[in-house]
């Protein structure tokens, strides 16, 4: 008898059909992966299962009883607890108050935190805690509710690998107790390592359920992308790096940083990127990488050090200054960068207005052609283009990149741009970065997914406690080597 059965679930948002007909069966005592490209309907399915939204048609049954959730609390009472991509803890309350708000027993939460080896102060205000810890707290709270099904939506996407391991530990523990875990992730290696079965969604349908350890990653990717994508560039499962090519095209230094320090987070960091070069940055959560990127992009003032763009000193006070000098940032949080209510075109055109004309009306035809080029080049799915917030995560990220392509830039800073994006779109983004580099751009690329370093970068800098502790060519930067360096386990001091 299945624990959870989902039959023919469908849901549309205006003209966009998010879920056409999804089926899913989760057994007790299994870790079940829910997979699919961006826009396949995973998030919608999770939201329906957790009572956040209601389906247009179809049924959910739990232990053979049909359920109709109107609110998240109903789903929780029925035995479904979820950890969402964004932690559902109220920022201005303390952890203890959050637990009281949700009627969760603090002792149970404490037990789970101990199992995850996390020391947390329950009197601390949530807004003061780091994001990675919040995710773990959200997980502990979900477990303390003793759900029959634990749903984890991209929980590992922003977690450093050591914390991700603890999540897997807890998932297995939950399976041992005879409960089920529904696990949503884009990291196929995780699927193979921890999941018993996987159901793949595509275009709002379920297209197959398989056993990941037997089927292999290539089969999963083929299923996710479907026959239509066969033979198209960007669908290959295992990316052949040689096909991408790369390496610096010239000796011109585009972006140079000398001894940059920011607050207590970054201590005297230097780097130099040539035209045509993609330099990766690898680090555990909170090693100063975010502050470094913010300082380079003018989002935050640096306290010391020098920054040069094509040999000219740059001291950006605001992102406007940095953009004018040709240094642009693609942040991890797409919503932060976009105007969610406005159209795709307007979103791309936004920085263009800085440059096209300072005063007077906007030159619409000129703007239009540049935007059109960018959209085509990035293969942005424009079905939902009237409002950027309706786009899937992958397409939103493409829009933030398209914006800079239309605008023009010298150095591109990408901060974990592929977080929570499917493999097909990731591959497209990698190829695009390589093309941009080929045209002479300098690219600095932080990623929390270590496999990407070898896929997209020429060399990688490893950051630890606010300093670069290692530099290696991409060819040597396998995950073992990177992890080693990211934990500070390197003999050499300083790099780049």
């Amino acid at each position: 008898m299945s624990l959870l059965v989902v039959r023919d679930l469908a849901r549309r948002f205006g003209a966009v059909v998010a879920l056409r007909s999804a089926n899913l069966a989760v057994e007790p005592g299994e870790i079940h992966a829910l997979l699919g490209a961006n826009g396949a309907g995973k998030s919608t399915l999770v939201k329906i299962l957790t009572g956040v939204i209601r389906p247009d048609s179809g049924t959910i049954s739990l232990n053979d009883r049909v359920q109709d959730f109107h609110t998240p609390s109903q789903a929780q009472r029925a035995g479904i607890a979820a950890v969402f991509q964004d932690p559902a803890l109220v920022p201005d309350l303390t952890l203890a108050e959050n637990l009281r708000l949700t009627d969760v027993d603090a002792t149970a939460v404490r037990r789970w935190l101990e199992l995850m080896e996390l020391a947390v102060d329950f009197g601390e205000i949530v807004a003061d805690m780091p994001l990675a810890v919040l995710r773990m707290l959200d997980l502990a709270r979900a477990l303390a509710r003793e759900p029959q099904i634990l749903i984890l939506d991209e929980i590992t996407a922003a977690l450093p690998s050591d914390l991700a391991e603890r999540v897997f530990l807890v998932m297995r523990e939950w399976r041992e107790r005879g409960h089920a875990v529904l696990f949503i992730t884009h990291r196929l290696r995780e699927v193979r390592a921890v999941c018993d079965r996987a159901t793949v969604l595509r275009d709002g349908h379920d297209v197959g359920t398989l056993i990941p350890s037997e089927a292999g990653e290539a089969a999963i990717v083929d299923l996710m992308l479907g026959p239509a994508a066969q033979g198209m560039p960007g669908q290959a499962a295992v990316v052949d790096r040689a096909a991408i090519g790369g390496g610096p095209r010239s000796d011109t230094l585009v972006l140079e940083a000398r001894d940059i320090s920011v607050g207590t987070e970054v201590h005297g960091v230097s780097l130099a990127i040539r035209a045509g070069e993609i330099v990766g940055v690898a680090a555990l959560e909170g090693q100063g990488q975010e502050e470094l990127f913010d300082a380079l992009a003018g989002r935050r003032r640096r306290d010391a050090g020098q920054m040069l763009v094509e040999g000219r000193t740059l001291d950006p006070r605001t992102p406007f200054d940095a953009i004018h000098a040709g240094v642009v940032l693609v942040p991890a949080d797409r919503v932060q960068a976009l105007l969610p209510q406005r159209s795709v075109r307007e979103n791309i055109a936004l920085p263009l207005h800085n440059e096209v004309r300072e005063w007077g009306p906007i030159n619409v035809p000129k703007e239009g052609s540049r935007i059109g080029d960018a959209i085509r080049r990035l293969q942005i799915d424009t079905r939902a283009q009237r409002q950027a917030r309706r786009l899937s995560g992958g397409n939103q990220q493409k829009v933030t990149i398209a914006r800079w392509i239309a605008n023009g830039f010298k150095a591109l800073l990408l901060f974990d741009p592929t977080r929570g994006i499917d493999v097909g779109t990731k591959r497209q983004i990698h190829l695009l970065l390589r093309q941009l580099a080929g045209e002479g751009a300098a690219i600095l690329f932080f990623t929390s997914e270590l496999a990407e370093v070898q896929l997209a970068c020429d060399r990688v800098l490893v950051m630890y406690e606010g300093r670069f502790v290692a530099e290696m060519p991409a060819a040597d930067a396998d995950e073992a080597a990177l992890l080693h360096a990211m934990h500070g386990l390197v003999g050499t001091e300083g790099a780049a």
Binding site: T50, V52, T71, P72, S73, Q76, F84, D86, P87, A88, L89, V90, P91, D92, L93, T94, A96, E97, N98, R100, L101, T102, D103, D121, F122, G123, E124, I125, D128, R300
Partner: protein, 334 residues
């Protein structure tokens, strides 16, 4: 950063964080009391003859705004805003003046309770319209402000009525000891009897949660509609107290007496450390801010500043204080 005495919630955990949290939540509330004390000293300097009578006048004049600020804070904490508070006060003012003019103390109290219950219902209705229609708070309450004003004009088109029972009006105007006006006790009692239980309840926690992050609160199982409606109902209760306090102060009903209170209540709330985005702040801050706003006026009076300039200076001070506080908060965040 808000209520000073009211804050500590049952958190029998590590004291270091509790202390940090207490400081973070109360630093503004504490500073506004500091400003208040400072201004009292300034007042004493510019007007050496300051005595209990002046203090009592200050309390009497401040009580309507103090309650109006509490009404505004109830709504702002949940993430809303109420532009109808002044007109609601006017409605209460004229209804009260009509029914209290010949009432003894007992009747006056009963009538007041009935009025408070009535405004709670009106507040709840406002909240209901906002949650059901999904029209922004600011628009709905702007619309209701016309309704309340129209009703007030209907009840009493020209100033009239009054308060028959001196014992009742002395709740605002009277004094218990030389330096202890009854109004201070009434405000403290309302905070203890109405606000504290609310703040400590699950409902109060839900209000803060909703104001802080609506999505996270919804996902945490907060009943969004119910909580917002309750917050507006509480706002109605405080607005009634504000209208009654105004009536006791002026001893006359006037439909045009309270139009300034809407925006002054917003000023007091902001000055009192309540985040206009919701979720942060308390009641003690806005109450102190109401006193601060009035004391500034009093000081100008003693300095014989042209009343027109006095208003300009008062506004400038609000901007400066908020600016200062905003810079301090910003600096702490980065």
């Amino acid at each position: 950063m808000s209520s000073v005495a009211v804050t500590p919630s049952p958190t029998p955990f590590i004291p270091a964080a509790t202390r940090r949290r207490f400081l973070r939540r109360n630093v503004w509330g504490a500073s506004i009391y500091g400003v208040l004390v400072l201004l009292l000293i300034v007042e004493k300097i510019v007007h050496p003859g300051l005595e209990a009578f002046d203090f009592q006048t200050l309390v009497i004049e401040t009580m309507p705004l103090a309650f109006a600020a509490m009404a505004q804070a109830s709504v702002v904490l949940v993430g809303g805003i109420d532009l109808s508070i002044g007109q609601m006060m006017a409605l209460v003012n004229v209804v009260g003046a009509t029914y209290l003019v010949n009432a003894d103390l007992k009747q006056a109290i009963l009538a007041s309770l009935a009025i408070i219950a009535g405004t709670a219902v009106l507040g709840a209705l406002t909240g209901l319209v906002i949650t059901v229609s999904r029209v922004p708070d600011i628009i709905v309450t702007l619309a209701t402000s016309f309704i309340w004003y129209g009703l007030a004009l209907h009840v009493m088109s020209t100033p009239g009525g009054g308060v028959g029972s001196t014992e009742f009006s002395d709740l605002v105007n009277g004094e218990i000891g030389t330096w202890l006006p009854e109004g201070v006790v009434v405000v403290a009692a309302v905070l203890l009897v109405v606000w504290l239980p609310w703040y400590r309840s699950k409902l109060g926690l839900s209000v803060y949660a909703l104001g802080s992050d609506r999505t996270a609160a919804f996902l945490s199982g907060v009943r969004v509609a119910r909580t917002r409606i309750a917050a507006y109902a509480l706002g109605g209760v405080f607005a009634a107290l504000a209208g009654l306090a105004l009536l006791c102060e002026t001893l006359q009903g006037d439909p045009n007496s309270a139009s300034n209170f809407t925006l002054n209540s917003v000023a007091a709330v902001v000055l009192g450390g309540v985040s206009l985005a919701g979720g942060r702040g308390g009641m003690l801050g806005p109450v102190a801010a109401a006193f601060v706003l009035n004391i500034i006026g009093a000081i100008m009076g003693f300095l014989k500043v042209n009343p027109n300039y006095a208003v300009v200076i008062q506004g400038a001070i609000v901007v400066l204080v908020v600016l200062l506080a905003a810079t301090l908060t910003l600096r702490r965040r980065t």
